[in-house]
Symmetry: C2
């Protein structure tokens, strides 16, 4: 049994890895405890339930996305569309890295849980909805900046385009998990730029 | 206990309903038997496993999509892009109908299972990949017709655009399940038309 002081982090890391590579229903508390090398009593000391743990796992994933955004999308010394391009490439690299390490694309952690749980667990549904709204707001901000700096035409609907981009990213993450082919992902990624012209009907 | 002669159909209908509204892992053979009003022995007379049943459920969903396509996309007496529009609206109505009946959007049956099982069950992954390739081929066909009839510019990459449309539809199905709001779905649907201009980088 490893040191108690690391136990919470090991539970989080194990859950993140196991649920992301498989599914929520497929992974039980016992399996997470085994992988984390902690006893069940220790698990319930830190987390009241698998749901509570998974909500914290989602927060960790979101912090990872925010970190990627800070190094790309939110830089202030580059043109907005270049920052957007860097961010989208970084997300693609993150997917690719997982593929290279595990032999399969595993999709978007948010999208996977949204797909599996939206009809079953409204707390989870609302949490994921809130994270993706934050992602959309980051896209909208950079598109508004691109319009203000003359990189995009002023007629472009930045908010709507940002929302359509999130839709495409979630579709792309899901379909890359299905096709499980790095060439497919790099081929289909650029189409997202078409959506920056999107307007509601 | 209802008549044996209907048992197979009742198992299929129950599995279709239960798995679509919940998830694959969450629904067991016993629950399907209970809802179908059949005994477990009868289940295994018709289906060797839950996986085999689910593959047949997917085939039923696909036949439903084909039927929708025959009444819209594959009509010969209308302009290609009008047929595409009719088909996309029909898919939206199908989602909306489920929402009105059950109180929630349940996503794309193919996309849901792709998300849950692509890393866990390669037979299922390949089956879903093949169905979505057929959908993509139908889109590509109608876009090629639109180019041939002068509705779209000849520079448009019909095959690539068709593939990007499938990505968007899957993202839209997943996100409508997450947002669970008919207005969201009707607002974000038209952006798919932007992807018809898409070209690989």
């Amino acid at each position: 049994m490893a040191r108690h002081s690391d136990a919470k982090q090991r539970i989080l890391d194990s859950a993140k890895e196991l649920i992301y590579g498989s599914s929520y229903a497929n992974i039980g508390v016992q399996q997470i405890c085994n992988q984390a090398d902690v006893k069940k009593g220790s698990f319930y000391h830190f987390f009241p339930s698998k749901q509570a743990l998974t909500l914290e796992v989602l927060e960790h994933f979101w912090q990872g996305i925010q970190q990627m955004a800070q190094q790309t999308l939110l830089l202030t010394d580059r043109p907005p569309l270049q920052r957007l391009d860097l961010f989208l490439r970084r997300i693609g690299e993150w997917h690719l890295q997982h593929y290279q390490q595990r032999g399969h694309f595993a999709g978007c952690p948010m999208g996977n849980l949204a797909s599996e749980l939206s009809t079953l667990d409204d707390d989870m549904r609302q949490a994921i909805e809130a994270y993706l709204a934050k992602l959309q707001a980051m896209f909208a901000k950079v598109l508004h900046e691109a319009i203000a700096q003359g990189e995009l035409a002023s007629e472009i609907d930045a908010d709507y385009s940002a929302e359509a981009m999130v839709v495409y990213i979630e579709g792309l993450s899901l379909m890359s998990k299905l096709h499980n082919d790095p060439h497919w992902l790099s081929r289909l990624s650029p189409a997202i730029w078409q959506l920056i012209q999107a307007k509601p009907a």
